[in-house]
């Protein structure tokens, strides 16, 4: 019925011959309303495919969690709930600004739209920054999917597990001695430090990006012919700053748990087991399939992160078009559609957060 209404244009057929000068209306549509409704249905159906795409991952999660609850109970303690919650709020806020941006677009307030979009982009970047910290930390504790996983239970011994396994008692002792010396050698470069180092490489790169894109932005800003390039540089700048912010604040948060200069004991702890786990009073024995949890974790958050990156690209594209003044009160479909996509990404995180971080 709706569709019939929007396509009823034949009585104006003659006047339509001249309407095609409007560059915002594609040639095969009769009206902006039709164009908008078409796009809206299109994006909803795309979201349907996204839901089913993720349903595969959720299915994988559901099967393994219901078959091996102990794995999830055990392994989820290695995830930092506070960081996860903070990230959730950041993402929710980005959803707010996106929805607000859609509203601005509908009302034709392009300045407001620009502000909202940039904020959304920044929030997305912060989310990724925090995520990259979490990934780095997991990687350093060898809490990785598949073969790369190493049990945190005998973390420091793990490096020599192969040796200790099949040997005579004497050989095993020897190996342990060797291990102790290895331990001593690397004592000054604890995992705690290594995490920071990896991140500091990342932040160095990010600083480079920030400086370069900042310069580009500054140079191009005033040039009306280079509007597009300037805006792209601006988007990169915002993304890099956002990521930097996210990474720094999570490092800061992580260090809060330790003294200004970590004591030897703390370094030891940080090195052998993840901080969250170290605090645990009663240790749950490690189940056999503990690594499956990290497969789930990395697959789900990884695919989600890819969607975030896709969303950031789409938002940057919107920013460029906004700067060019493409959107008006009757042509704002693109903003609405990217907004819908962004909300869906948010929606998936809303489920991922309790499913992965909050298992008790």
């Amino acid at each position: 019925m709706n569709t019939a209404a929007t396509t009823t244009t034949d009585e104006h057929a003659d006047s339509h011959d001249h309407e095609h000068h409007d560059p915002r209306l594609a040639h095969h549509f009769d009206s902006h309303q039709q164009q908008f409704d078409t796009g809206k249905l299109g994006i909803w159906i795309f979201l349907v495919t996204e839901v089913l795409f993720f349903s595969g991952l959720f299915g994988f999660y559901a099967v393994y969690r219901s078959l091996h609850p102990e794995v999830f109970l055990y392994a989820s303690q290695f995830l930092d709930t506070t960081l996860g919650a903070a990230n959730t709020v950041v993402l929710l806020f980005s959803s707010l600004t996106m929805a607000w941006g859609v509203r601005c677009a509908q009302l034709g307030q392009s300045r407001g739209l620009l502000v909202c979009l940039v904020t959304t982009l920044a929030c997305a970047a912060i989310f990724l920054g925090v995520k990259s910290f979490e990934y780095t930390e997991k990687a350093h504790h060898h809490l990785l999917p598949g073969r790369a996983y190493q049990s945190p239970e005998h973390h420091d011994a793990a490096a020599h597990a192969t040796a200790a396994d099949g040997e005579t008692a004497a050989a095993a002792k020897e190996a342990e001695a060797a291990e102790a010396s290895v331990h001593g050698d690397h004592g000054d470069e604890s995992l705690f430090e290594k995490t920071k180092h990896t991140l500091s490489y990342m932040t160095t790169v990010l600083w480079g990006v920030i400086v370069l894109s900042g310069i580009a932005f500054g140079l191009l800003f005033k040039n009306p012919n280079k509007k597009t390039l300037a805006t792209i540089a601006g988007c990169v700048l915002v993304s890099a700053i956002g990521m930097q912010l996210g990474a720094f604040s999570s490092i800061g948060y992580h260090q809060l748990g330790h003294a200004e200069k970590p004591t030897d004991e703390e370094i030891e702890l940080a090195e052998t087991v993840p901080a969250e786990y170290a605090k645990q009073k009663e240790k749950i024995p490690e189940p056999m399939l503990a690594r499956t949890f990290f497969s789930v974790y990395f697959c789900m958050t990884g695919v989600h992160a890819i969607h975030i990156i896709g969303g950031m690209i789409a938002i940057s594209w919107l920013i460029v078009r906004t700067v060019h003044g493409a959107f008006t009160t009757y042509y704002f479909g693109a903003v609405d559609f990217v907004g819908l996509y962004w909300h869906l990404v948010d929606l998936i995180w809303i489920y991922l957060f309790p499913l992965l971080y909050l298992i008790n």
Partner: protein
Amino acid sequence: MATVVDSSNPKSDFPIQYRELNYLNCTKGWKSWFFTLDHKRIGIMYLIGVTVAFFLGGLFAVLLRTELLSPEKMFLSADGYNQMFTLHGAIMTFLVIIPGVPAAIGNIILPVMLGAKDVAFPRMNLGSFYLWMAGAAFFLAALALGGLDTGWTFYTPYSVTTGTAVRTALLGVFILGFSSIFTGLNFIVTIHTMRPPGMTWFKMPLFLWALYATALIQVLATPVLGITGLLLIVEKTFEIGIFDPRLGGDPVLFQHFFWFYSHPAVYVMILPAMGVISEVIAVHSRKHIFGYRFIAYSSIAIAVFGFLVWGHHMFVSGQSKVVAVVFSAITFSVSIPSAIKVFNWLTTMYKGSIRFTTAMCYALAFLFIFSIGGLTGLFLATLATDIHLHDTYFVVAHFHYVMMGSSLVGLFAAVHHWWPKMTGKMFNEFWGRIACLGVFLGFNLTFFPQFLLGTRGMPRRYYTYLPEFQNLHVMSTCGAYLLGLSSALMAATLIYSVYRGKLAPANPWGGASLEWQCSSPPPHNNFDHPPLAGDPYVMESVVYNEEIGGYVPVECQGANKGSVTASGDNEA
């Protein structure tokens, strides 16, 4: 020859027969094709791509059948044979049948049938074609990088452990999946929002219903294939232990994931063909289709039920008994809508005036083949018999009767039915019918013996076999040769017509749906004005006109009744 009526003169008596400018010649150069947003050109490119893939897949099939002439090794190595049947299956399903009718024929015909200027998202449409190309490229790359020997089903843990190019092929499948999703999305939105005035849901041609149902499946099922492929790639690369039992994974879970897409995909293959048959039988019998609503609803019913039955591929897989019983019960529900369709088609022919054009011959062949294909499905839905028949040549024969016999014969019917519309040329009916006869006989000779092979104990995917099966295998191989030759003859007939064929009138068969109202081939924008749509199956609304050699709307026959332009709207 018929009078050529100039499109600039709307007062002329007859609809425009031959336009100077049509979508094929309005612009020139390779760029005008490769960057075109015109749905018809994209459809033509799809058709060419699908044809090439079909002959490649067919070549593999002929080689496979030749190898099976003897119960011992002939000329292929065991690994070569395994790779060949895998690629035959993968190419035929992902590159030929799934995009065949919807993406190739559907792209060309759907908007014209709807009286629309284009599909809703022309750029996405072009994108989906390029994704198809990329997917095909990945398949070829897999072929070059050491082949693929998992069977098109990629069952774990075999696919995880084999050393062949599984990842490349899976990426191809992933990409092709998105191509399919975009096509489906486009069709759903187009059908919802771009119907012309007067075309309510129940005045839509049944082909559109079928495409709509197909698109629903494509959109709902294909993403799961995407994530399955992705997870399998990740599994193979990082050994994350989802599907690999050595690491605590569950190989049966993979089968669930895989068939959740791949069973509905069977309906992606057959539903559009059913839509084609509804059109062809009605038009060439000159009869209103019988039981329109039942056919339309049954398309949707097949699409919906098609989702609920994937487990019947897994009756012997170690799936639990409860689930097997549930799936067996639901599986039978799919057979009902198919039965309804067949009976409705038959009744449509009743008291008609049946013309044995090539397209109609294919449609009749479809009825015959699909009856066998559909009915043999009952054996496989029944738990007790499926235990014996699962993974045998009976299954091979069954799904070839449905997927090759029905879907591809449906595609052939569609190509012949709309060929004049697509190319503006008439093909040689005599050779067309000969090819059709060859396809029909060759097909049955190839696959009927395989039912017997299956029940007698011949497992599928066997490279050598017990000598008692040789006679039937030889019959089958002879049929395959005949089938291959006939398909080549069909292609030759059609291609010949492009260069030497007679010019086609706008409505050579007397169809009443909108696509026959614009000239052959259609102009770039299909319709200058949105046409008024009526009942697409009132064949009396067009009558044969000697002078033109085709059908014209009734109003045009008598003089001075007001003229009708090509786009079909009445100008006072």
